[in-house]
């Protein structure tokens, strides 16, 4: 029976379990951790570019249809050294920030109200998803009607795009707060506003962050469309440049702008990711699997 005894060591904990446990044990240096977080990204990007290059080499499509990586990166190089790019990026980012901030305020308010007030939920709860599905261009006429050709028209479209998504995130988060925590909160004296402040919002925070992330995606996409609403030529923008690149059939430029959009997305995701990891560490649900 002694042979029957199993010594649990590294080799016997395999697969996902190993992945799960591994992280807790490895004590790595700061640089080591940075590297282990970076190389898979670099590898993934490298593989993607390699496949792209191979497809180009096969001559599957003419280069004016599918430009080779080298051409795109050289265009990207030109693009990001132009003033137009930086001005456009600045304009777009500013609009994104302002529009998203407004959407967050409105989305949070609506979400918190709808989730907790029965009559509001019955009245407009189901409207939120419906509004979320409304494409941005449907709002353009209304935006112009209300705000003429001003930046507000853009914000209007962005807010209508993002706020429902954020509100839905908040509602979801509030719906799944463990009842015990709500009861505990009320019992220790949190009522009304303080219940929101000290219990409801922190308890729903993970879901709210997830909702904000989805909301950001909606906001950004709405902005890309909405920036065509008001092409104030003094203010070039990424959204306008994207559309023009397409209208002028500038495939390399279009792809350069896509890369820029991806990079912006990555940066924003990193911010959300940091917030999320901070919350998960606190809640003790970090490192169940990946970083």
């Amino acid at each position: 029976m002694a042979n029957d005894v199993l010594t649990r060591d590294d080799s016997t904990i395999s697969g996902l379990d190993a992945l799960e446990i591994a992280s807790k044990q490895k004590v790595t240096s700061r640089a080591g951790r940075l590297w282990s977080g970076t190389w898979p990204k670099v590898a993934a990007i490298g593989i993607a570019i390699f496949i792209w290059q191979v497809v180009v080499w096969t001559g599957w499509k003419p280069p004016y249809s599918l430009p080779p990586p080298a051409e795109v990166f050289s265009d990207l190089g030109t693009y990001v050294t132009q003033g137009a790019f930086w001005h456009g990026l600045a304009t777009t980012l500013r609009r994104a920030a302002v529009g998203f901030a407004a959407a967050v305020a409105i989305g949070l308010a609506i979400g918190l109200a709808v989730a907790r007030v029965r009559i509001l939920r019955a009245a407009i709860g189901s409207m939120i998803t419906a509004l979320q599905t409304m494409p941005s261009i449907a709002w353009f006429p209304l935006a112009i009607l209300l705000f003429q050709l001003s930046e507000q028209a853009i914000f209007f479209v962005v807010v209508l795009g993002a706020a429902p998504s954020i509100a839905n995130g908040v509602i979801y988060g509030l719906d799944y707060i463990p009842p015990l925590l709500l009861r505990a909160g009320r019992n220790i004296g949190a009522r009304g506003a303080s219940l929101y402040r000290y219990v409801i919002v922190p308890a729903a925070l993970p879901a709210i962050i997830a909702g904000l992330k989805q909301g950001w995606a909606f906001a950004w996409r709405s902005l890309m469309a909405g920036e065509l609403l008001v092409v104030i030529a003094t203010k070039t923008s990424i959204g306008a440049q994207l559309t023009y690149a397409r209208e002028l059939s500038e495939a390399p430029r279009l792809m350069s702008i896509m890369i820029v959009i991806l990079v912006v997305g990555l940066v924003v995701d990193a911010a959300f990711g940091a917030a999320d990891r901070a919350v998960r560490r606190r809640w003790g649900v970090l490192d169940q699997a990946g970083a």
Partner: protein, 248 residues
Amino acid sequence: MTSVALTGITKVYGRGPNAVLALDQVSLDVRPGEFVCLVGASGCGKSTLLNLMAGLDRPSGGSVAVEGDSTPGLMFQEPALFPWLTVEANVELPLKLAGVARAERKARVAELLGTVHLGEFGDRQPHELSGGMRQRAALARTLALDTRVLLMDEPFGALDAMTRDILHDELERIWSERQLTVVFVTHNVREAARLSDRIVLLSSRPGRVISETRVDIPRPRRIDSPEVAAVAAKVTEELRKEVGRHGQ
């Protein structure tokens, strides 16, 4: 003069054929300053009763009346700590909500954590604590409440005997200092005899009050004293009869 008055309380969970009659015509008066222990088989409705007293749920029938305009503090059967706050912040929150000034808050929190022997663990998150430590943190949070009535649902269930004995003393001290009214649920009949003025025995499904035992042993008491053992034996006997009758 009652601190908590339950009159003909009935509580039904669910609807239709699945409905559970958790409490049936429970009446109970607790005097101000009284320490009452509730005992009864698992699932007989003790937690339900505490929830009703705390106003966190509404009876299907009957009425609940509580002294003063503050709600009773309730220590839940599970720790119910807020996972996003450190232990310290969990204990501090009731004080903050009651408007206690910052400096005083810090002092009170330190004192309370000391009382439950968690002084070194104030900066931990709840998930970093052991089961018993969480229960003690929850106790500290409940004790931070400035209420006249304290409801406690098996507060020492996850603690070793030594720690529990120490906390019995602490609870008794606080109870008499603050002149609290305490309703205390426990499965440990000795604990009930050690702490309470009166032991109320509930039957199960439906929950009814089937007997009340006055505990007149002079304080301070010791849990291993023969008097406590005698009361415990009596209550145990009744409990055994009730459980036996029920075929539980």
